[in-house]
Amino acid sequence: MTPRRQRMVGTGLVMAGVALAAVLALRAFQENLMFFYSPTDVIAGSAAEGTRFRLGGLVIDGSLRRETGSMEVRFDVTDTENTMTVVYAGVLPDLFREGQGVIANGYLQADGSFRADEVLAKHDEEYMPPEVARMLEERGHPVGSGTAAIEK
């Protein structure tokens, strides 16, 4: 083997070794790298009880209810299979809409609802002018349903 070839193989081995180490490390931390759990994950018990975690999903159309005389809002979050109710008191972000993806940070309450102290809007990767969105809507293709957000 020429020295050049040796260096080439050496570089290759370093890269392969680092890649292997990265794969093993990422697999070990798979759970911790999940930014949020879906309602199905929560019902299946993936999210530890009594601890804080993030719940992600789509806000169901027409599920947003405001308590009169307080900042508190309730809405239902779904991953199309299971649904959970989120209770939140605070300012909702600009992109919060019914039908859009959200991520709520908080904990499970005894009655099975989710008490959030932070709600983030999850934006999907669709960009279009308002006219196009309106046109799609009229043709019966609802936009901003955030399907991409939920498939991930």
Binding site: R4, R7, M8, T11, V14, M15, V18, A19, A22, L26, Q30, L33, M34, F35, F36, Y37, S38, G56, V91, L92, P93, D94, L95, F96, R97, Q100, I103, E118, V119, L120, A121, K122, H123, D124, E125, E126, Y127, M128, P129, P130, E131, V132, A133, R134, V143, G144, A148, A149, K152
Partner: protein, 253 residues
């Protein structure tokens, strides 16, 4: 083909070639970035959800893109330098690092500015944002490691190993939004067959991406020139090149 390659490996040739190309590339880049900025800020329609807020994409996405492609250049040049003992490849890698770090910083800052109103937070520790931040730290580590050696050759080799090891982060950044649940949305443009963005919003973005790339190459050419001058400061051709630049300083023999 090989003579061309060998010529590129000759410092005085590269010095002159880079000097000729740099101003042209820079002007084309400035024109493209100006056109892209006008297209993005004025011509493109507002987004149906985000209104005008989405326009930060015209800086954010190209910067994020550059942060990764410059790293690819840096790591490839480092590997070429290590394997073929090509000094100029190390010069390219060393000259790229600060530019790549700047684009990474720009991507992180513009992302945070967009995230505050849209997501409701400046920063979250999701896989995409965290891996991009790690990329910035790898750039810093590369530059710091280089600065720690007084001998250029040692700095070249040690920092090249770091650059090559850091490559593992690139696929993690790119696929983070696919492999894990993240707050960051998945890619819009790379789905080339069917990008999720309308044409009149897409073209300024593509113009910006080409402009950013040319801007990088122009800056790289200039930085490589100064890098080469420093490395070859004892060579005869450097003396001659400097004499051409500063005739009044010519040492009369």
């Amino acid at each position: 083909m090989w003579t061309w390659f060998h010529k590129l490996g000759s410092p005085p040739h590269l010095y002159r070639l880079a000097g000729k190309l740099a101003p042209w590339l820079l002007w084309i880049a400035i024109v493209l970035i100006a056109v892209g900025t006008y297209g993005g800020l004025v011509l493109a329609p507002p987004d149906y959800q985000q209104g005008d807020g989405f326009r930060i994409i015209y800086v954010h996405a190209p910067s994020a893109w550059m942060s990764m492609s410059i790293y690819t250049v840096m790591a490839t040049a480092s590997a070429i330098g290590l394997i073929w003992r090509m000094k100029l490849a190390f010069a390219v890698a060393a000259a790229s690092a600060p530019v790549g770090a700047s684009f990474t910083f720009l991507a992180l800052v513009t992302g945070a500015i967009w995230g505050q109103p849209m997501w409701g937070t400046w920063w979250v520790w999701d896989a995409r944002l965290t891996s991009e931040l790690i990329l910035l730290f790898v750039y810093f580590g590369y530059m710091g490691l280089r600065a720690a050696f007084s001998e250029v050759q040692k700095a070249d080799r040690a920092s090249a190993v770091l650059a090559i090891v850091g490559v593992v982060n690139l696929p993690i950044i790119h696929y983070s939004v696919v492999w894990w649940n993240t707050l960051h949305q998945v890619s819009t443009v790379t789905k080339l067959d069917n990008p999720s963005i309308s044409m009149d919003m897409l073209w300024p973005l593509l113009v910006m991406i080409v402009g950013f790339n040319l801007f990088y190459i122009a800056i790289l050419a200039t930085r490589v020139r100064s890098e080469v001058l420093g490395r070859e400061r004892n060579a005869r051709w450097v003396g001659e090149a400097l004499d051409d630049l500063l005739p009044e300083n010519r040492v009369t023999a």
